[in-house]
Subunit: 348 residues, 4 copies
């Protein structure tokens, strides 16, 4: 396949960014755009000279001149549109989250495999220079054994109709954490609350436990006075802070740590000896790849369809994120009671 023909469904907030990046790709041809609000589809279609412009998603899915269907619609429509597109034999790239229920997400993964098409999930942050650098540091053991992942993503945000703050913002943080860990956690707890008449949670705290030595935590909030997007990753050798609000120095790697000296079972007279030795060295801010994340993602998806590389974010990655968020949702409904994750997998 020389050229990949692309159809995009959804021209709201995010869709036009996807359109723009596929339109610029040398091996992609933008063939169709759809939006229920016709004028949005028309505006986008005119700017990029798209042959088919429609308010009917089915015309994109059914078009014989489309190889890849990009889905940028509200979350509650993801499952149905993905299923239709996969059934029509199309490759699919769908905005996060893949779906809002684990069983639906699993069904989509299975279906894509059976149909022999690619199912990609738009976890955009995975393709940023910052997260690529962090992944590289983790994989090369620069940080040592990973201890924790702590992420804060708060703002006076855009309250959503169809999802709460957890499903709106946490997929970013959970997908980054999942990308670093590459496996499912054991257990999730979460607490959330609705304020000021909001029908859905506008603040949520999500805790994720992997085994007995790694803890993940995500704080998402639509009702915060300051915009904070900061992730800390702690390891046995080094620790890093990823501050996405910094214009250029986003990732700081600290050569800091502790080593335990005293045996905690020591007798009482040891109580006044120092317990740990601290190590504090240089701090380092690596230069990051500055390409727009979506263009890197578009390149990966097109390249994977053309058989030239592996898909970086697959349906399975999207499924793990959905599994964690669904467990968090259930924990919120039961006042923060822990919800197990792995047994469900073992059973599967």
């Amino acid at each position: 396949m020389r050229q990949v023909n692309v159809g995009v469904i959804g021209c709201g907030y995010w869709g036009p960014n996807l359109v723009r990046n596929f339109a610029r790709h040398p091996h992609a041809s933008l063939m169709a755009v759809a939006d229920v609000v016709k004028e949005r589809a028309e505006r986008t279609g005119a700017e990029f000279r798209v042959p088919l412009v429609t308010d009917d998603a089915q015309r994109v899915i059914g078009s014989s001149s489309v190889d890849l269907v990009v889905i940028a619609t509200p979350v509650w429509t993801h499952y149905e549109l993905c299923k239709q597109a996969i059934n029509a034999g199309k490759h699919v790239l769908v905005m996060k989250p893949l779906a809002t229920r684990t069983d639906k997400a699993e069904e989509l993964c299975d279906l894509a495999q059976r149909k022999g098409v690619l199912l990609a999930v738009d976890h955009t942050f995975i393709f940023t220079g910052a997260v690529q650098k962090i992944k590289e540091l983790v994989d090369s053991d620069e940080l040592g054994e990973l201890y924790y992942f702590d992420s804060v993503r708060i703002n006076l945000g855009l309250f959503q109709h169809d999802v709460n703050v957890l499903w709106d913002l946490a997929p970013h943080d959970v997908s980054i954490m999942d990308h670093l860990m590459g496996c499912l956690p054991d257990e999730v707890t979460a607490v959330g609350m609705c304020h000021g008449g909001s029908p859905t949670e506008n603040i949520a705290y999500l805790t994720v436990r992997y085994g007995h030595s790694f803890l993940g935590h995500v704080h998402v909030n639509w009702l915060a006075p300051a915009k904070i997007r900061r992730t800390i990753v702690g390891g046995s050798r080094k620790m890093l802070v990823y501050d996405d609000m910094e214009p250029s120095e986003k990732v700081r790697v600290y050569d800091k740590g502790v080593s335990f000296l005293a045996d905690p079972n020591d007798s009482t007279e040891e109580q006044y000896k120092p317990l740990v030795s601290y190590r504090s060295g240089d701090m380092w801010v690596p230069q990051l790849e500055m390409k727009e994340a979506l263009s890197v993602e578009a390149e990966n998806v097109i390249s994977a369809i053309r058989g030239r590389s592996e898909l970086i974010v697959t349906g399975q990655d999207g499924l793990r994120v959905v599994r964690i968020l669904e467990a968090a949702e259930r924990s919120i409904q039961s006042s923060g009671a822990p919800v197990k994750i792995r047994p469900a997998i073992a059973a599967a």
Copy 2:
């Protein structure tokens, strides 16, 4: 009583700060200092010309020339030393936390009441200009209805022998939150983890629910690469950020908020209308009282003993903080399961 005679037990890290502030108080006389490590008592005693210098706490408690016993010793000794001092008819000021078990803390409160002595707890932050200003803003309804309290206190910290990070750092945040709320919450959940051979938790997340509209959250961590001490308080009218690492502009008050427009039960066509209207106005950094918190606290304790004012942080305040921390500890032990607080009180 013209002059209050003070004896201090514990001359380690924090004790000398207490000693210095009582020594400077015009209506306090420093009569005795004790420390199990004799040299520490001697160094402090020499600097402030204290008559009685000893390695035996009992000599301070038993001294007829001491009215107020200040206890600045490891946490596990608080209960026993407080009980002895109160039984000896002394007023007591004890470092946070008051005790590590609710029943012990309650016993101390009851005992102090029966003996007719004052029991004060050193929740130092309550006496900072920053927290005093925040309390004033909350009490004058400047923030409107309170929505949430989110506090982060992390650092490459001093690992403690006898307590985990929760009992070491969270009393600061919980005491501030409790000071603003003035009542017990309903429920607590907490998760923590030990890393790198630490015998106790070095990272913990604590969530506290008051009724159905206020959520408190505290993140404490001894193993973080950057020092962050930041509290956000969200209200229906205004929100504030208290950043204790700022040298002077510690409290920022944001005239920001949202008002809900749409009825969440609206029909589907409403899904594309805006849900909320955002309000964004000036930001304001109030000038804060710059006095050292401990000197304000010493003044309050001395003044209360002399009958000139009310104690600001009482044993009851210390008890509520212990109750929350104990519940958090139990939640950590049971993988984050929610622990109810109020029923226990109703039963009491």
Copy 3:
């Protein structure tokens, strides 16, 4: 005049921003765009459906369907193009600086007056919400008597061919200072230097004296490791910091100052008394108008041409800025020797 017909010369870095803002204005019609690099004109022309697209500036200037000529070309072409456009009876908006010589700038001002057309200079920063707020604070005497204006605009910048860093960056700061002061200074000194083979100065310091009580200073630098754009305005009552790198809290107003207590001619024993009393109050961050500066500027220019309001940045404003920069240039050539400004005017 109902509608203003606009022609734009120059579609390089800045031109398309001007085009976009005039294209969106309800009372402006974009009739022509020109650029010596034809493809740039064509790209811009296509995006905004401009009737006349050309590589010949004369066709824009000579077009009978153009009322306003917008000049966004390299600095050395400003004088000639402005003169031609004014002579053709067109209103003119020209990018900063108006010209590189005082006599040329004066000639343009005179010519525009004789021809009865408007001559506007694109000092974009004047139209930002930040500078509008600062101007308002100065005019309402909130800051008291003005003491100094200190501006730093440094970066790893785009080295220019035809101008040094002074003519490239300092017009921004000088135009803001001039806007606040509204009159010519007495004297200018400046120092600059070329580095690394650069043919023109890449670092310059400019000092401007107004009378005996106001000092302006501008530091511009193309070869700095960090991007800083920060202006401090000191007054007798209040002081403010304008940090253009802050995403939202750009202007901070400090209620700070000093009052002199001691008579400086006092006898020797006064040498140990305090000289001043310090005042330190709240800090305040006003909410700023968030409209794009160029759209506010386009609105002002169109409205002035339609006779509905006064031009905010006139040729006379541009002339004062050129006078200061030319004096600075001469000071740099003579190793920083002071260059008088006012006498030249008195003579004129």
Copy 4:
């Protein structure tokens, strides 16, 4: 000499810090303290158990049990006290600036040499971990050829009686710059102004030219709303920012720079080609020595007196700083006219 006997004159703001650091030094013995305000001498003397406590500087200078006289008095007394102490055969450490006139500073250097005593100047910042690291980076050619030194030291500061802001604050920055350069500049220009009734300049800008390729600039201000202490050093290979207000990450080294591509004498068609290529790499924050600067300085002075190492800041270093400041003062008096430095030396 095993032990160095130290006498300190001046127990005001800075003196006690010097006293404390010499008192703690294992090879120094504090023998005498003096202050015209007797109580200040007594307070300091009591704290450090000093044998001779006096309000008469002559008794320190004349004492046979004193080897090193430390002078921490107002600037206008430096010359006279230094001369007396040197004439009495004492080694001298004097607070910055060494004197306020070049001829006086030279006289002191000559006198010390003739008398065979050490004359050290307290340029404290030279002994900080930050400046030591910067010096190391410069000396190891890590920054390449040095281009500029830009320093800002502003605050709502302590207005001084006997000196203007230039002589009060600029010695810090000038001494750091001089330490990096190690030679005299060619020319100095400076501008300053008095505000609000101040008898002396409260704001000053100082520019220093070394040859044709290095520019130094210092901005000092007692009347600024925010506290800024930031120095930028630009070099051909790397650049660094030293921010003294950062609690720990004070020095940031940027792997950034430019290389010139185009020949500036190229023909007109070259005007649209890029002039430079930009290089942007990692940023690095070296771990700094955290010892108190004054203790490092005291160690160096004591060690030099004992013949174990070279004095790091000599009278000659102090003299170069005075020469620059005196030239700046003269430039301020003549409205910023450039004042030559080197010829004066050639003549000497």
